[in-house]
Amino acid sequence: EAGVTQFPSHSVIEKGQTVTLRCDPISGHDNLYWYRRVMGKEIKFLLHFVKESKQDESGMPNNRFLAERTGGTYSTLKVQPAELEDSGVYFCASSQDLAGGPVNEQFFGPGTRLTVL
């Protein structure tokens, strides 16, 4: 079974440009999460999809970030325009429907390292 995949693995862009990150969750996982780790700091939650709906987007830093999950499959996270402080590693995770059990184990992708110059 394929794990969570993310594309690209690295992205280097200039301030003001646009970048789109993609996450493909494990097949059948309804829950999809985005997290971000800025250099040397904690991994921070960005948002949570249940299928195609945004369940919780309380961690989105500002309106320069737009996440979508059309059809409830893969998800994209677009940053437009990018700023220097957006640099970091963006992780995606997926988990099964909560009805499957009490422990909602999240499986992580390898992350996308974003560098904004």
Binding site: E42, I43, F45, N104, Q106, P110, G111
Partner: protein
């Protein structure tokens, strides 16, 4: 607000020895879950061990075990018989039912031969 604190930025241990990584947390919920994740260099983050708050018994997975002290809100990870492959960044995380993970800043563990 939920918080997770890992007070040890880096640790080292000799191969075959035992090491304990510390984690404290804060939550107002009575039901929650605690996790230790491991991220080896240039590799994906994987789950090492998890603990349900309603269970008093400490979780164990082979060489990995936890010391869960609910009243003290402490959740340390003990790695026995350390191996070179245990070298990684270790993250402690808190999850309330069905919701997001709240992570600590991580502890870099280096296992030396």
């Amino acid at each position: 607000a939920q918080t997770v604190t890992q007070s040890q930025p880096e640790m080292s241990v000799q191969e075959a020895e035992t090491v304990t990584l510390s984690c404290t947390y804060d939550t107002s919920e009575n039901n929650y879950y605690l996790f230790w994740y491991k991220q080896p260099p240039s590799r994906q983050m994987i789950l090492v061990i998890r603990q349900e708050a309603y269970k008093q018994q400490n979780a164990t997975e082979n060489r990995f075990s936890v010391n869960f002290q609910k009243a003290a809100k402490s959740f340390s990870l003990k790695i026995s018989d350390s191996q070179l492959g245990d070298t990684a960044m270790y993250f402690c995380a808190l999850q309330e039912y069905g919701n997001k993970l709240v992570f600590g800043a991580g502890t870099i563990l280096r296992v030396k031969s």
